[in-house]
Amino acid sequence: MAISKFNYNSFNVTPVASKALAFNSDADGFTTASGSSMILIKTLTASSSGTLSFVNGSSDVVLDDTYPVYKFEFINMHPQTNDKGLQVNVSIDTGSNYNVAKTTTFFRAYHYEHGNEGGLAYQTGHDLAQGTGFQDFTEGGISNDNDCSLSGEFFLFSPSNTTFVKHFMGKFNLIKSAAGGVSINSFVAGYANTTSAVDAVQFKMNAGNIDAGKIKLYGISD
């Protein structure tokens, strides 16, 4: 039968917030431990939102040297206005400005529901060359039909590093606003050309609000 006399600070280990109590590798003592290497940090849910921002140190967001890699997952991002696309920018001043210079690539595969057209190509209109504006995740806009959306993932590497530029990569699937419906599979990659620490990331539609959808921030540990 279990003995019910131990409180959280009764164990021979220093408590660490949000960590688990585990047996050590020799099974002869205790240690603190994390679960898998992918840790959910923050979920933001859009509700007619102009932007969704993840700012280090604000609202429980961690975006610093705690993790070497950060991952964002996008679940059914829905634009309030038809034919608007999701975008990203980063900040080096905890969200006061989202205007870091970026050089990026963008390509996508597409295929229409009617089956008469599909292809794969680089899209010169959606890349950046030292641009400080927001980076597109989509070619064209997402349909705002009730059942249409964008889902995908976006990785940011070592944002707090003050030696190197900051690489990022994302891939997405969406339904483009177009006659007949189009599946777009887009791939975005590049770097924020700064040696300052990136400490905030912001997502928005290129016009209008984010009507609905979730963005989840994960830290991926060593």
């Binding site: 164990f11 021979n12 050590n24 099974a27 002869d28 431990a33 679960g35 959910l40 059914n76 599979n185």
Partner: protein
Amino acid sequence: MALSKADVNNINVTAVASKAIQWNSAADGFEVGTLGGSMVLLTTATASGSANLTFDSSIDSTFDSYVFKFINIHPSASASFTVNFRDGSTAYDATKTTSYFRAYHQENAGGGVLAFDSFELNQSTAFQDLSGDSVITDNDSGISGTLQLFGPSSTTFIKHFMANINSIKAGSPPEMKDSYTAGYCNVTAAIDGVQFKFDSGNIDSGIIKMYGIV
């Protein structure tokens, strides 16, 4: 500062290296458990001359997305590796529109091409080809990769999915193929099952793991 009251042998469970201590299901004692995290292993399916590998439970609103990992999927006969989704009935026949492209390179240095290819679907209920061609059956060859399904339990939105697999195309010389498939199940009904199979023959061996992403 931690107090040194309780040592490892003061807990009424058998210590297991690197395992966590958790309350039991009755919340009246402790037990040993696996450490949690945001990527939770739900099911491991191991093929052995299997006609298909089917995941027909645990796909619900518990997680926002589900990830399938393919580890050395080996066919009994040269065939294409495919997927389909269940949207409310017992059949794996959700309507899908998809895109497909691949890079390939042959063992004799031929190829080296990146292009869209005609393995996409348009409003089709058929199985989606993930390998793009029939794969080789050599004993040392298999398919590995991943597929992610987003928001399967939503009854508002269509269901996006994205896959990336490596395979070896049957033929001479063997051809390394890096396939990218993406699209959506064009249904608002919940997706509650996913099935993988070759378009002919069996899955001789291999493992598919399904994870829920918290």
